[in-house]
């Protein structure tokens, strides 16, 4: 399993693109549109990211947490599973799975620090622990997740373009603002990031890609999705979505506060 993506639960759970972005019925009733549904997921991915910077966990833990977060909302509604709580609980669970456990009280502390003015984001330790159990159920206890990072490094090495590492790595990070990890095998996402990086940095990788014998249509489709994403959202990588864009959407979702 660890050796082999193809026999893993991750591989078996890959979804068709059209099955990923379906707004759950309960959220639709509250007037959440597909565009808004996506916005919340982007916004909360940033939230997880920022929280992770505070508690200092590795990239891999963040990536696993966001993958859990996105997986949950292919099955559960935001109305029933408050994303403001699901997000830190995903980070909490991912930190255990990736063997760098972050204490729940630390998360609670930093959430307060980050979102002090907004009570809707504040939770107690107990809330996180309860949500951790609900997450385990919602994820059907499948916890192993593969990421594009390792194949990325290996492929860059193989292509002899390790000077693109930093740029391509950043692209991979940004793919977690999207649902790609639920749809494509991680190495295909890595290839798409290499493809974009080499085009933008004027590296000729055509023959290298040809030799790989991968389906270039898929690689190009993923690349287009990534570029579309940048075009559509023009997100400030530090600050995330603009408040006036996201607050009205978040207000459609119930909160315990």
């Amino acid at each position: 399993m660890a050796a082999n993506f193809w026999t893993s639960s991750h591989s078996k759970q890959l979804l068709d693109p059209e099955d990923v972005d379906v707004v759950p019925a309960k959220d639709r009733e509250r007037g959440v549109t597909p565009v808004e549904f996506r916005l919340v997921k982007i916004h909360m991915s940033f939230h997880i990211w920022r929280l992770a910077q505070q508690v200092k966990v590795r990239q891999r833990v963040i990536a696993t947490a966001i993958t859990y977060f996105r997986r949950v909302y292919t099955r559960k509604s935001m109305t029933e599973y408050d994303p403001r709580l699901v997000a830190p609980a995903c980070l909490y669970l991912a930190s255990k799975v990736e063997e760098s456990t972050v204490q729940a009280r630390l998360l609670v502390f930093y959430i307060k620090k980050m979102c002090g003015s907004d009570d809707k984001y504040r939770f107690e330790i107990k809330d996180i622990l309860e949500m951790e159990m609900k997450l385990l159920e919602a994820l059907d206890y499948y916890l192993v997740v593969y990421h594009p990072y390792r194949p990325l490094l290996q492929l860059l090495q193989d292509a002899g373009i390790t000077d693109l590492t930093q740029f391509a790595w950043g692209l991979v990070n940004d793919t977690y603002k999207m649902d790609l990890i639920l749809i494509y095998p991680p190495y295909m996402i890595a290839l798409a990031c290499i493809y974009i990086a080499s085009v933008l940095k004027d590296k000729d990788t055509t023959s290298w890609f040809e030799e790989l014998r991968v389906d270039m249509n898929i690689v190009k489709n993923i690349s287009m999705e990534i570029l579309d994403f940048y075009d559509t959202y023009k997100i400030d990588p530090q600050r995330g979505l603009q408040e006036d864009k996201i607050i009205p959407v978040m207000n459609k979702l119930p909160s315990k506060a």
């Binding site: 399993m1 660890a2 050796a3 082999n4 993506f5 193809w6 026999t7 893993s8 639960s9 590795r58 891999r60 833990v61 909490y92 669970l93 255990k96 799975v97 990736e98 063997e99 760098s100 456990t101 204490q103 729940a104 009280r105 330790i125 996180i128 622990l129 309860e130 951790e132 159990m133 609900k134 385990l136 159920e137 059907d140 206890y141 499948y142 916890l143 192993v144 593969y146 390792r150 194949p151 290996q154 492929l155 090495q157 193989d158 095998p185 991680p186 190495y187 030799e211 790989l212 014998r213 991968v214 389906d215």
Partner: protein, 470 residues
């Protein structure tokens, strides 16, 4: 899997599908129960009254949520599937008290009890066929784990279950994955989360403070278990120095060196880099150990294949130690008696069939762990033969070395019953990765190298010469 609805209630709905028989084990993580699926439950179809072992995890500490041990066990067992590995059949959550339950197919025996029965009750060694079959199946399960980059880290007789009468009679199931981990790209040095492996089965590189150990630590443990199956006594019974953060265990090393001789840098080049060897605060380097000879302890001819295999498992240098895949190909398994699927029942006519005692059940404890006042009794029709006193659990635990990680053996008391596919599906996936060269998707740099030496074991279709045994 799972159905944790029932928040607020103390008897969650999922509990209704089981009939509790009683408690069969206890550890720091929680309790283990024996239960049966009620025939009315949909999952019970075709497996009427199947015995299930339910491991209940307590909250590890106030404010820490689900114990990382439970998370690790769920994470690994949810991905793996092999005839010689316990089968996780369900996970349940009781939201009311935040407890977590793992349900496994139940195994009636384990190697600890099998060995003990021979030593204390029969006063008779385990027959060759059974030893060989147990060892082969253990290696087969371990080969599957290792080729999937999982190190068990806590192999010992009580963690190796053997199925009782039924479809899978005499089949080994490796259990207790609470310490197991994936060793591909570790986030932290493996040694960071505490010293592992019960001290008697702990590999010398661990005892000398190796930071990045490998699957070879499991093979050392298998060697110790092999010897124990032969002699009915633990091979290296060191006394653990407790309450030390230092992995160094002088007495255990002393026991090993006395049998296998003094390790040398010539035989084990990386020895010089191991922290505890370098510091050598106990002056082990200067001590001269005579090689008393492993063969005299295990009573095996030095030139025979059994001894050859055992000494390759107990090779000091972890890089030279035999791998599970290599061991499965060893001559020992190609000689009479050949290993078979039912390790407990030899097929040769005239061989005496040993009846092993069933696991004692404490029927006075309920799922909450509350003990009722009624006297302990064996479950009806399931009592141990010979009227053995029933709860042997406590003395048994006390005999067990606890290792540095405060664990109890009965994690142990889990078993699998479902028919799992054979090793064929494991590991590599040629043909599946649509890339012909370079980094095949997710592979680790070391993986490419290992592919070659694991290839054979991987394709092992099952037991050698199956026809004779099945």
């Amino acid at each position: 899997m799972g159905d944790g609805r029932g928040g607020g209630s103390n008897r969650p709905a999922w509990l209704q599908q089981y009939e509790l028989v009683g408690k069969i084990g206890e550890g720091t993580y929680g309790l283990v129960f024996l239960a049966r699926l009620k025939p009315t439950h949909p999952q019970a179809a075709g497996r009427r009254g199947s015995p299930i072992a339910i491991k209940k995890f307590k909250q590890s500490k106030e404010g820490d949520g689900v114990s990382p041990t439970a998370i690790r066990e769920i994470m690994l067992l949810r991905e793996i599937n092999h005839e010689n590995v316990v089968k996780l059949v369900n996970v349940h959550i009781n939201h009311a008290d935040m407890s977590l339950y793992l349900a496994f197919d139940y195994a009636e025996h384990d190697l600890y009890e099998v060995i003990r029965h021979h030593r204390e009750k029969l006063n008779l060694s385990i027959n060759q066929y059974t030893v060989k079959s147990l060892l082969w199946q253990l290696l087969n399960g371990l080969n599957y784990l290792h080729s999937n980059w999982i190190i068990h880290r806590d192999l010992k007789p009580s963690n190796i279950l053997v199925m009782g009468e039924g479809e899978e009679h005499g089949i080994i199931k490796i259990a207790d994955f609470g310490l197991a981990r994936i060793y591909q790209a570790p986030l932290k040095p493996l040694s960071d989360n505490g010293v592992v492996v019960t001290i008697w089965y702990r590999a010398p590189e661990l005892l000398l403070g190796a930071k990045h150990y490998t699957s070879a630590v499991d093979m050392w443990a298998v060697g110790c278990i092999f010897a124990e199956l032969l002699t009915l006594k633990p091979l290296f019974q060191g006394v653990e120095a407790k309450a030390t953060p230092n992995p160094f265990q002088l007495d255990q090393l002393d026991k090993i060196f006395k049998v296998l001789g003094h390790p040398t840098v010539e035989k084990w080049p990386t020895l010089a880099n191991l922290p505890c060897w370098q510091n050598d605060q106990q002056h082990i380097q200067g001590h001269k150990y005579e090689n008393t000879g492993l063969h005299t302890i295990v009573h095996l001819p030095q030139k025979g294949p059994a001894f050859d295999l055992l000494s390759r498992m107990l090779e000091y240098d972890p890089r030279k130690r035999i791998t599970a895949a290599q061991a499965l190909e060893h001559e020992y398994f190609r000689m009479d008696p050949l290993p078979g699927r039912n390790a407990l029942v030899p097929s040769q006519p005239g061989e005496k069939i040993v009846t092993y005692p069933v696991r004692p059940v404490d029927t006075s404890t309920d799922f909450e762990g509350t003990t009722s006042l009624q006297p302990t009794q064996p479950p009806s029709g399931n009592g141990p033969p010979g009227g053995q006193p029933v709860p042997r659990q406590i003395p048994r635990q006390m005999q067990q070395p606890m290792g540095g990680m405060q664990r109890m053996p009965p994690g142990a008391n889990m078993g699998a019953f479902g028919a799992a596919p054979q090793a064929g599906m494991v590991g590599m996936n040629p043909g599946n990765i649509p890339m012909q060269r370079g980094a095949g998707g997710q592979s680790h740099p070391h993986q490419l190298r290992r592919k070659a030496d694991q290839g054979m074991g991987m394709q092992n279709p099952g037991y050698p010469q199956q026809k004779r045994r099945f």
